[in-house]
């Protein structure tokens, strides 16, 4: 009891902890240094008569910030966020729902694997974007075809990770459980499933990244789908077409942030589901 009291007394709030965390400050300093260099490069345009590469050609971060504040007032910008996020998550969740059982089934059943692995491997190298024209024909709405391409982006990675993870489970776990009286179902539910969980989350993290890449490209190609806001990809494309470069950068950073938030979310869920891996 006494120990517990001491423990709670020592605990600080998360924000206070973050404030004293050197890693956090290193990250902040790195971002600030990057922004300062960018600002200097973009303002100077050229050094010693030479054009500054990359940043010399784009708007400085201060302009981008001003533009961002302006853009943040438009409902269309937020609608783009909403649309892209929705597509990403629906495609991603569909890929999880289909991919995890599919991967597990291939891992545990050799007949199933024998039948479905070869076609899967033939389809896998086809880049999701190559599916865009076909999926526009397949699906009744552009919305669905973008989502389908998003789904494909995450699907292959998820399946490969689940399959590899489930098949690399140490046979000793299975033997130990078997000799303690585990049925086939027990083996699957109590050994293979928790044993595959780390790979499921690796697949999810990688798949989530691919999903963001794919959804934006899909939006650019298909022209955004709906009449109103067409998602962040369309936002960038239309800004580029309009020649508003600082708005393109606003779009790009928005995607970066969206991706960062999504992968943090997956990490968070992963930690919650796998307490045994949190310790180191």
């Amino acid at each position: 009891m006494a120990q517990a009291v001491v423990k709670t007394g020592k605990q600080k709030s998360k924000i206070v902890k973050l404030f004293f965390d050197l890693t956090f400050w290193r990250g902040v300093v790195a971002i600030i240094v990057f922004l300062v260099l960018w600002e200097i490069g973009a303002q100077a345009k050229n050094w010693f008569g030479f054009m500054v590469p990359f940043v010399g050609k784009v708007a400085p971060p201060t302009d981008v910030m001003v533009r961002w504040v302006e853009v943040a007032g438009w409902p269309g910008y937020w609608e783009s966020w909403y649309l892209s996020t929705g597509r990403v998550f629906l495609g991603f969740i569909a890929a999880q729902v289909v991919g995890i059982p599919f991967g597990l089934a291939m891992a545990v059943n050799k007949y199933f694997r024998g039948m479905f692995f070869p076609p899967f491997e033939i389809l896998r190298p086809i880049p999701p974007l190559a599916w865009v024209p076909a999926s526009i024909i397949f699906w009744p709405t552009t919305e669905l075809s973008i989502m389908f391409v998003t789904f494909l982006g995450a699907f292959y990675t998820i399946v490969i990770n689940v399959l590899g993870g489930a098949r690399s489970i140490d046979i000793q776990y299975l033997r130990a459980a078997q000799s303690m009286g585990a049925s086939q179902w027990d083996l699957f539910y109590k050994i293979i499933l928790p044993g595959t969980l780390p790979s499921i989350f690796v697949g999810a993290a990688v798949g989530m990244g691919i999903t963001w890449e794919v959804v934006l490209a899909g939006e650019m190609i298909s022209g955004g789908g709906q009449q109103g806001g067409g998602g962040l990809g369309f936002f960038i494309w239309s800004s580029y077409m309009g020649g508003v470069m600082d708005q393109v950068i606003v779009g790009m950073i928005s995607i970066g942030l969206a991706g960062y938030i999504s992968s943090s979310l997956i990490r968070y869920v992963g930690h919650a589901c796998m307490p045994w891996r949190r310790m180191f």
């Binding site: 776990y173 033997r175 130990a176 000799s179 303690m180 009286g181 050994i191 796998m274």
Partner: protein
Amino acid sequence: MTETSNLMEVRNVSKAFGEDWEREQVVENLSLNIKRNQLTAIVGPSGCGKSTVVNLLAGFESPDSGQILLEGETVSGPSKDRLVVFQETALMPWLNTYQNVTFGPKLRGDMSARELKIAADRIIDTVGLREFKDKYPLQLSGGMQRRAELARALINQPLVMIMDEPFRGLDAMTRQLMQEFYLRLCEEEERTNVFVTSELEEAIILADSLVVLSNRPTTVREVVQIDLPRPRNLDMLSSPEAYDYKRHAMEMLHEEALKSFSGTESGSEFLKSYTQHA
């Protein structure tokens, strides 16, 4: 150690692996008896097929010919009567110590929740892991992991505990502590143990009977009864009796180990010079 009837009998068991054209005989005509409430240690030169013997005893593999009997009945498939403690620990990394220990009984549902809690607490105390009940395997030291694994096997009250080089990979100090701990454990309660190891000293100090295996294809070279007094401790290893056992078994093991060299010319020369030296 009063009763000495056979609990397990292995009768003329053979096992080969591989496809027809390159079939390798791993176990050939192996017969041995495992006496009730005794510790049978099995030693053999490295690579001789000890793990195959373990898999056969446990029922993970079935013999090509011959029979394995437990209390007179043929063994078919793994069962909680013959639990194996593996070389590298097979604790589930996703379960904490307590969950790992209660894994078997929970699976079978053969204990009430209250019984299970009492039994688990008692056994976790026995292996000295009370403070580490909520820790996951990766948070435990090597020695603690082995003890947790022992507890996980013990709670199932197996008829035979099969230990497959359970202390391999531990540092010398921890290994010694584990050997002493295991010795106490075996002497306090009557249990039938099969202890497979490649360490001769470990085998001698633990065993009631020592089975020396031959080189591949594996068969029993000799069974040595170890009559050191009980309770034992590791100091007894320096006694003259233990030394005699050790020398006798060592000679056999050397011979068997060198057989794997004798196939080639350079091997037989090595063998010659080596035996002259010894």
